[in-house]
């Protein structure tokens, strides 16, 4: 009966899916970005091939999204904010292990960094990472267990501590103090933004630089101040075609073209306009980006493999500083 039902239902849904159609499963705060990029790609695809393409979007914390794909969410492409979340898909056999070699810049068309957004006039004088652990400062960022955004914040704080000369124990203490100042852990970056901007909770929101720009603009009346710390962590935004799904749906070509498009001058300009840092010279020069010293996962944290093994694995450092506090 179920089979009949499922078939009947898929027939019912069929007219909605016309021509080329791909699903881009992405991280939480990328919604507005892809709302702008998708029509630009659709126009280009139409010009190149004469075919129409519709691009569906799904947004949530990127680890949550990876889990959903593992459970069968039919994503043709993923545009995530963390290497580990695509590695998980590779482990699940949905795409090849060497996915980082399929697109330029290790499959990361743009990058950003965890930055701060503080309330009008910066009353708590928050300029750098150690200001976040001061007594009486409330910090808002999403759950590092479900959100790549939150995980970057955690890793950035940890890397910052190591960079100041602290050892692992010292860095853990620092992160513990930071977590103790967090009143709410939302599951995605956007929910954290709502908590900070809409519900008025916390003194500082830590999220991607690009998101801080977007919120400052959207809530201009609240006078939020963007603070880019002198030192932060390079946040890459890796992309991949989910081979298994794309092959089954016959969308490999359009999916690949879609991701290639993210590297084109046109898309890079859209990205830079939205305060993502890009590799395209013209785009980066057309917009202003504050100077920042970027630490990397490779240099300080033993690469993504080291991060996965030491920090994110069950019972790892994140578990110890996060869950047990």
């Amino acid at each position: 009966m179920k089979l009949v039902l499922a078939t009947a239902l898929s027939l019912l849904a069929a007219p909605v899916m016309a021509q080329d159609s791909i699903l881009n499963v992405s991280y939480d705060i990328a919604r507005e970005l892809f709302v702008e990029i998708n029509p630009a790609f659709a126009a280009k695809w139409k010009a190149d091939t004469g075919r129409d393409v519709s691009i569906d979007q799904s947004h949530a914390g990127s680890s949550r999204q990876a889990r959903a794909i593992l459970e069968g969410l039919p994503a043709d492409v993923v545009t995530f904010n963390q290497v580990t979340d695509i590695d998980v898909l590779a482990e699940g056999g949905l795409l090849a292990d060497d996915w980082r070699e399929k697109f330029p810049n290790e499959a990361s068309p743009y990058y950003s960094l965890p930055a701060f957004l503080v309330r009008e006039g910066n009353p708590k004088n928050i300029d750098d990472w150690d200001d976040l652990t001061a007594e009486g400062v409330q910090v808002v960022f999403p759950n590092p267990k479900t959100s790549g955004n939150g995980r970057y914040t955690y890793l950035a704080a940890y890397a910052w501590a190591l960079n100041t000369g602290l050892d692992d124990a010292g860095a853990q203490d620092f992160v513990k103090k930071l977590f103790a100042n967090v009143p709410v852990f939302d599951t995605g970056g956007r929910a954290a933004t709502t908590t900070f901007a809409e519900n008025g909770i916390g003194d500082v929101l830590v999220t991607f630089e690009a998101e801080t720009a977007g919120i400052a603009q959207q809530y201009a009346d609240q006078g939020f101040v963007r603070v880019t710390p002198p030192t932060s962590l390079l946040a890459e935004f890796p992309v991949a075609v989910v081979d298994e799904v794309a092959e089954q749906k016959g969308t490999t070509e359009v999916a690949t073209a879609y991701l290639d498009f993210l590297y084109s001058p046109e898309a890079q300009e859209i990205l830079a306009k939205r305060s993502f840092r890009v590799h395209d010279k013209a785009a980066i020069e057309a917009h202003e980006f504050p100077e920042v010293n970027l630490l990397t996962v490779e240099n300080l944290l033993g690469g993504w493999e080291g991060v996965a093994a030491n920090h994110l694995a069950e019972g790892g450092i994140l578990d110890r500083v996060f869950v047990n506090q």
Partner: protein
């Protein structure tokens, strides 16, 4: 006894197929998954501080909500059955709103209402009372979504209650409170308990309304079903399944209790 009426096979077939496919099969999937965890790991998950805190919050907030709903439900049932006043019909219809209104909508409205810029929040904040992101918010959301249970279980019993005993007691000069305690209370008690049990069960299971208003601060305002979802999102299937199993068992226990109480309530009613 020979079955006179037709349709036994058909109705049995339809009922069992539906229950089997829609209800039992998914529950079996959960139980099988839970069985894979192994007792030691299961116990470790359940006794982890965060799980315990979530279960405790869920039970305590559920109890708070149920106390409020018990008092409110009794009041409403009494007022709706015993008194006549303008607007009574509307008031009666309003009782069902929390069932008809999607819980996400309730959550959205309540969280905005109690946040610093909302109608209630603007009143409470200056008095130093914070509701959003505290256990109070959780309890309020649970309370709202289970308002109708006590009202709707006590109301019919109160309606059926013969007033002649009360009249007799009044003639004998008994104090109204004594009448309530001795004459009315014993009759409505079983249904009242059924209502409380249902209300409590619903509060424990409520998700949509609570997540909007609670925030999810581990150890403080994270309800058990949300923790199960978070575990799922963290790829921690064992954790999710274990917590879900516990909630399932609690729900089944409450269901059995309410059915037993219901049977008792019916027996009470059947007595002439």
């Amino acid at each position: 006894m020979k079955r006179v009426l037709p349709g036994f096979g058909l109705s049995m077939g339809v009922t069992l197929t539906y229950l089997g496919v829609i209800v039992l099969l998914p529950l079996v999937a959960l139980v099988l998954r839970g069985a894979e965890i192994g007792p030691e790991r299961f116990w470790a998950i359940l006794t982890a501080p965060r799980t315990l805190a979530a279960l405790q919050l869920t039970l305590v907030a559920g109890a708070m909500a149920t106390v409020v709903n018990a008092a409110y439900g009794l009041l409403m049932a009494w007022v709706l059955v015993r008194y006549d006043f303008p607007g009574k019909r509307v008031l009666d219809a309003l009782m069902d709103i929390p069932f008809a209104l999607p819980t996400a909508v309730a959550g959205l409205a309540l969280s905005a209402l109690f946040s610093a810029n909302g109608w209630f929040g603007a009143l409470l904040e200056p008095m130093g009372i914070q509701v959003v992101f505290t256990i109070w918010g959780v309890a309020i959301a649970m309370s709202f979504t289970s308002i109708p249970f006590v009202v709707r279980t006590v109301q019919p019993v109160l309606e059926d209650l013969d007033t002649q005993y009360e009249q007799a007691a009044i003639t004998l000069g008994a104090h109204p409170f004594t009448i309530f305690r001795k004459v009315i209370w014993p009759v409505i008690l079983p249904s009242f308990l059924v209502g409380i049990t249902l209300s409590f069960a619903r509060s424990l299971g409520e998700f949509g309304a609570v997540v909007f208003i609670a925030g999810n601060l581990p150890m403080k305002t994270e309800i058990a079903s949300l923790l199960a979802v978070i575990r799922l999102e963290e790829y921690d299937y064992n954790g999710a399944a274990a917590i879900a199993m516990v909630l399932l068992v609690i729900a089944l226990l409450l269901l059995v209790v309410s059915n037993l109480l219901q049977a008792r309530a019916l027996r009470y009613k059947a007595k002439p």
